[in-house]
């Protein structure tokens, strides 16, 4: 790795591994602003930014955290992310957060919002219900009311009041971030050897725990350095799409394992928030309407989103086609209802299309990957040897 590339990735990895959110603490000291955590998948980051609030992505404790008290809150058959999240809440790592927002992901995260209310009664705790009805006059109106109420709640906690012109500016800033992320995904799709997924992943994780402007600069530096890394040459690896890891994230070691076992990850749903909207948002007009419309019409086909008349799996097949993936890895956390209930439907579509696939599960704190390495390696070999 060249000097600058090494530096950028190390910087990103340091942010990613800092469970005590040092960058958030520094930002608060400098600005005196509020910082509010949010659980994975989607929240309207632009709205927080426009009110001078730093949104902070909370993606659990990964493989770095020993769970001491968190296990006393959950039975063994519940996924890992809520127990590490509550552990971090209890051990003081989130002292710098003035509140937490829990988007509508599943029943576990939904109930965690109530646990947070009981555990941290003085903080802002918000369950963000997003519509599953995508009619602008019905679901759109409801979602707008949710956003207005969130904005009022932030203001009541000391954030700046809602201001349409500031929200337009924030949308423009996040469009820039979305554009940078899209560019990197495109570059990885074209030249996956230039943008290894374990690097892209730590950049994405870094982008949710520091100010958006700093994230844009970091992504720019990475892109420039990666493009210049001529020593990175293509290898005979299978191109795979990884799906199912949208909430509880796989440990970095697992991503590295997939790559070492002979897979180029050319599309994934890790840290999906900057790719939740498939297009940039308009920077003019009524900005709240822009957020609402984008959510209704341009969101990705996530398992947490009701798929009405559309055929299940169609969106994934399109992603396979767009990314040039040769196979699909269903990589879901254990006990993840949205991913695991969705999986048989998507598998049916993938099989019908004749696309090779394999499936395994993980927990965010897994430390042993030998079995997955063998499985992914065999899968990669079978694609290279037997696919058309």
């Amino acid at each position: 790795m060249t000097g600058e590339l090494e530096l950028v990735v190390a910087e990103a990895e340091e942010l990613f591994r800092d469970l005590r959110l040092g960058a958030v603490r520094r930002w608060k000291e400098e600005t005196g602003g509020l910082a509010v955590g949010y659980m994975p998948i989607y929240v309207p980051l632009e709205l927080f930014h426009a009110q001078g609030v730093m949104p902070v992505g909370i993606f659990g404790g990964g493989d770095q955290l020993e769970i001491i008290r968190g296990d006393a809150y959950y039975q063994s058959y519940i996924c890992h992310i809520p127990r590490s999240t509550i552990e971090l809440g209890l051990n003081g790592a989130f002292d710098c957060l003035d509140g937490m927002v829990f988007p509508a992901i599943c029943d576990v995260i939904r109930n965690l919002s109530g646990m947070w209310k009981l555990q941290f009664p003085d903080r802002l705790v918000r369950y963000l219900d997003v519509p599953q009805n995508f009619d602008p006059e019905v679901g759109g109106r409801f979602y707008r009311a949710e956003l207005e109420s969130l904005a009022a709640e932030l203001a009541a906690r000391g954030a700046a009041s809602y201001d349409a012109s500031r929200l337009r500016e924030s949308i423009a800033v996040y469009n820039e971030l979305r554009g940078r992320v899209r560019d990197l995904y495109d570059l990885r799709r074209r030249e996956p050897w230039k943008v290894p997924t374990h690097e892209l992943y730590v950049l994405l994780r870094a982008s949710v725990v520091q100010p958006v402007e700093a994230s844009i600069r970091l992504l720019d530096r990475y892109r420039e350095a990666a493009l210049a890394a001529d020593e990175r040459r293509p290898m005979d690896q299978a191109r795979v799409l990884v799906t199912g890891s949208f909430c509880e994230q796989p440990p970095l070691g697992l991503i590295r394992t997939l790559e070492r076992s002979g897979c180029y990850v050319v599309d994934d749903d890790f840290v999906q928030i900057h790719r939740w909207m498939e297009c940039d948002l308009p920077t003019g007009g009524d900005p709240l309407a822009s957020l609402v419309d984008a959510f209704l019409a341009d969101s990705v086909a996530s398992p947490v989103r009701y798929i009405g008349e559309e055929t299940k799996g169609r969106a994934l097949l399109e992603r396979v086609e767009r990314s040039g993936a040769e196979g699909v890895l269903f990589c879901a956390p254990s006990f993840c209802d949205p991913a695991l209930l969705d999986q048989p439907m998507i598998v049916a579509a993938v099989e019908a299309a004749g696309i090779p696939w394999t499936a395994f599960k993980y927990a965010e704190n897994n430390g042993q990957f030998q079995v997955i390495r063998e499985q992914a390696g065999t899968f990669s070999d079978s694609i290279k040897l037997w696919s058309d």
Partner: protein, 431 residues
């Protein structure tokens, strides 16, 4: 040598139980005849069910959760779950879903031995349980039936706002009612809906009276094991019917008599002599239902209040279906179901039960299948203990997967819990 008839002890039942059994049998027979009679079937869920609205269109409700639990009680769920798992459904997810899918793949034969017809519509009332949404996405693929989606917002802040109510009502007007009109070929008749809702409220009054009779000592009812029978008609296909009114009137009369006689609840093996009064959080296990109940009955443990009997509607805090505002009332009903309440509200409700019903403690039956109930139960337990001073107990099982019913483990934990209550009593503690 004993004959089989002598080997099986006779199960004792109240008259209302026989009546309910007949109501259910008649309903399943009507479902079985539907392909010949032309009746249309709508699959939907218990929490947030819109039975009166369906009945106002002469549509027949089918409740896959009820089918699954009955498969569990009939000893069929093991093979159904196994079949679904062989077809790629994860061992980690809800066993109701897998049991329902396995039943469908095995011919969709219901509890009366007759085939349940395929759905003409899937009414996805997405209330208090994320799995519902996936469940009907799966059924849509399997049956190719249309889906009417009703997204019921969660009470994240413990209240129903005007925006939430408007959202549900608008979905009813714009999506659900037109879908029901299409499938039934009939127009929406609000007067008819109001009449049905007025009947619902009458039955709800009697149900609440029955549930609250457990405040007496001894309690004339068991509000968990017995309670699942009491909620049967009102949580399923009968809310809004004269049959439901009659059933609850008869049930109330039985309980009044039991109260007047100073008798305890009737369990399958006979009357329970009350030694412990418990509040139970979480659904029961269905695969070993009688064995599970017997563990409590043998110890004289009577459940005086439970959260499971509120999963299809919380009526004892004052809600009644209101014929004067039919759609708004249905919206409030959906949003008020137990699993749509946030955790602080659940803690408040359970704490109030412990105090108002003079319970010795709160026992959680945590089921592996249901994250909507189970995630957060350990915290609920501690909060209720802190607020009431009554000790908490914790057991684990599953809804319909017999692999997760470890009888000796559950019995040990239950007995230890009851011994602890006893010791606290002897020591002059709050229990």
């Amino acid at each position: 040598m004993t004959t089989p008839a002598e080997a099986v002890p006779e199960v004792r039942k109240d008259g209302s139980q026989h009546k309910q059994k007949q109501m259910i049998a008649d309903h399943f027979s009507r479902l079985a005849r539907a392909p010949r009679t032309g009746d249309k079937c709508v699959y939907t869920f218990v929490p947030g069910n819109l039975t009166e609205l369906l009945l106002s269109f002469d549509l027949l409700p089918v409740l896959p959760e009820i089918n699954a639990l009955q498969s569990g009680m009939r000893g069929k769920s093991r093979e159904y779950i196994s079949l679904a798992e062989k077809q790629g459904h994860s061992e980690d997810v809800c066993t109701y879903v897998k049991c329902d899918l396995g039943m469908m793949k095995s011919g969709n034969v219901g509890p009366t031995g007759e085939k349940i017809p395929d759905p003409d519509l899937l009414l996805l009332s997405y209330t208090g349980c994320f799995t519902f949404m996936k469940w009907f996405e799966i059924l849509r693929q399997e049956y190719g039936a249309p889906v009417a989606m009703l997204h019921v917002p969660y009470q994240g802040d413990g209240e129903i706002t005007a925006a939430m109510r408007d959202y549900v009502v608008e979905q009813l007007r714009r999506n659900v009612i037109p879908a029901l009109e299409r499938v039934s070929g009939k127009s929406y008749d609000e007067d008819r809906l109001s009449e049905l809702l007025a009947r619902s409220a009458r039955a709800e009054d009697d149900l609440v009276w029955v549930l609250e009779s457990a405040k007496n000592r001894p309690s004339p009812i068991d509000a968990y094991f017995g309670g699942v029978y009491y909620i049967g008609p009102i949580f399923t296909a009968f809310r809004g019917t004269d049959e439901a009114i009659d059933y609850y009137r008869e049930l109330r009369a039985e309980v009044e008599q039991r109260l007047a006689d100073g008798r305890g609840p009737l369990a399958p093996d006979g009357e329970i002599e009350e030694r412990f009064r418990l509040v139970v959080e979480g659904p029961p296990n269905w695969t070993s239902f009688r064995e599970f109940w017997r563990m409590f009955a043998d110890e004289g443990a009577v459940v005086v209040a439970s959260s499971y009997t509120k999963v299809g509607g919380v009526y004892d805090t004052g809600f009644r279906h209101d014929p004067a505002r039919p759609l708004e009332s249905l919206a409030d009903y959906c949003m008020g179901c137990y699993t749509n309440l946030n955790l602080p509200r659940r803690v408040e409700l359970l704490s109030r039960y412990v105090v108002d019903y003079g319970a010795d403690g709160l026992l959680v039956n945590s089921v592996k299948s249901c994250n909507s109930f189970s995630a957060g139960q350990l915290m609920i337990l501690r909060e209720v203990e802190n607020r009431t001073g009554a000790p908490g107990g914790f057991i684990e099982s599953d809804l319909v997967d017999p692999r997760y019913f470890a009888a000796s483990n559950i019995k040990n934990r239950l007995e230890s819990y009851l011994q602890m209550i006893d010791q606290k009593r002897q020591a002059g503690g709050t229990a």
